[in-house]
Amino acid sequence: MPREAEPSLNEKQFVIQALQENLRLDGRELDQYRPLELTFGDQYGVADVTLGNTRILAKATAEVTVPYADRPLDGIFTIATELSPMTSPAFEVNRPTETEVLLSRLLEKTVRRSGALDTESLCLVAGQKCWSVRVDVHALSHDGNLTDAACLAVVAALRHFRKPDTSMEGGRLTVYTPAEREPVPLSWLHSPFCVTWSFFGDEGELAVLDATWLEEQVRVGSCTISLNKHGEICQIAKLGGTPVDAVALLQCTNVALTKVKEFSDLVDQKLAEDLKRRDKGGFMAELRAENDR
């Protein structure tokens, strides 16, 4: 496992000095995100998020399983974040690094524990059958700010996802294949998004949004704030690092809220576009079905 190359002293100095003059290497404002792109796959539940050179692919799947014995009325919802050597050769298969653990905990707290997905709606037969929804997060390319991109991808994939339709008749559960019945969307309650601040300077006085990989390597601390557009905090994680003034953190939260609203609008808009695109296909399919008859 080769280690990630550290930036040289000159490089570090250059980045920090530039930031102190409110300049970033890619010409962005300190609180500006890189161009964010969100695309959906042909299948339901596939979201591809590109944030500058960072690229995340999230895929949601569902299958029928037995619920956990201690939670008979809940379905199962897991988010799998395994960083492969594709992300960086420093990541090894089957050996979670700290980055991976923190990313997976963060997504877990942001999306799962905040109750974004109604897990009770995944229950089919209490204690016997339930849906197990799983999101796989694949980091294809890592150029900083994996968390924000991954969180957006997970939320977009789950909102785009359709699970097979089911029906209960006299205690018999039928799961319809996509050919029999159009799949149905998940019961989604709210959309949380992560916003990560990176801190620079001796006192952590410079707060920067959406750090690139180089910036992440020289930062002195970071704070990830997860919010939804209703202004509810789902999670805050400033896990150590150089101490930052409490008032500055509050300010960061308020800026994060405006960013989250932008993300929320973006996802809504992209989902609507995708639905329109699919609907056209659905109409065509209907015509074809008629012709078949």
């Binding site: 979670p96 877990e108 524990r113 994680a237 150590g240 690092g241 101490p243 003034d245």
Partner: protein, 277 residues
């Protein structure tokens, strides 16, 4: 086990009889392990934590700990000219009501360890010990809320005992709010130092500050809460951290005084300001 917090509004007393701004009883000791470089034992209410610090020493083979290097990523073996802080946390099976086995790869424990490591790394003068390692092992004996805060406090005390130069104490405590996330009631009171029951039911956060300043080293919130609640909770939390710092400082000074009285340490120039007897 649902808890009825609605009684709070009647007497303004919490389930364990505290007021909103009261800490639980904190009991702490340092130098509990004679053989260790630094050690401490800390109780915050019924949360009991033990900490042993080894080092700074030559980096040994990597064990199941999580490293937090100095600022800017973990450099293996302190290669970046800084000591590496390696934290391992063991949560005893008997520490909580339902006996649960915590495996080595438990992500929650790893996250706690990483947080403690990064918080300490920012306060310790790690640049004084290049190519070395500071090993912090934390043992959780009993859990009753505010676990992360107790871990950070215990680790700070043990580092002080080990004599590792540091900027200031990293003191931590939790703060909560009596409002649930759904209710946007303005009359919600902030609460200080949550116990397990309150932690389960109410939104809360863990804050750690550096010394007497308002600078926040750790801020962890794991529950859903209105953004407007944050300010109040943070203010109470930071205030609690200052109280906690006083308590930790007293523990260290008491121990120092006793050691001089007992003659284990010679009364030196640096200790003059400590009013002995």
């Amino acid at each position: 086990m649902p808890l009825d917090t609605s009684t709070y509004n009647l007497a303004l007393l919490r389930v364990d009889g505290r007021r909103w701004n009261e800490l639980r009883r904190v009991h702490a000791q340092i130098r509990t392990q004679a053989a260790a470089d630094g050690s401490s034992y800390l109780e915050m209410g019924h949360t009991k934590v033990m900490c042993v610090v080894t080092g700074p020493s030559e980096p040994g083979p990597r064990r199941g700990g999580v490293a937090g290097g100095g600022s800017g990523g973990a450099g293996a073996g302190g290669a970046g000219g800084k000591a590496e802080v390696v934290v391992g946390i063991v949560i005893a099976g008997f520490s909580s009501v339902d006996r649960k086995r915590h495996g080595r790869g438990d992500k929650r424990t790893l996250e706690l360890a990483s947080t403690v490591a990064n918080a300490l790394a920012a306060s310790l003068h790690t640049h004084l010990f290049p190519h070395s390692q500071i090993n912090v092992s934390l043992h959780v004996l009993s859990q009753d809320g505010s676990l992360l805060a107790a871990l950070i406090n215990a680790a700070t005390l043990a580092c002080v005992d080990a004599g590792i130069p540091m900027t200031d104490y990293v003191a931590a405590c939790t703060a909560g709010s009596t409002s649930t996330y759904a209710a946007n009631d303005e009359g919600a009171d902030p609460l200080l130092d949550l116990n397990h029951q309150e932690e389960q039911e109410l939104p809360g956060l863990t804050v750690a500050t550096l010394g007497e300043s308002d600078r926040v080293a750790v801020l962890v919130c794991e529950s859903r809460v209105q953004v407007s609640r944050l300010e109040g909770m943070l203010a109470v939390g930071v205030d609690g951290c200052k109280q906690m710092r006083e308590i930790l400082d007293r523990v260290v000074r008491d121990k120092g005084r006793r050691m001089i009285q007992e003659g284990t340490v010679e009364k030196g120039v640096g200790l003059d300001d400590m009013d002995v007897d």
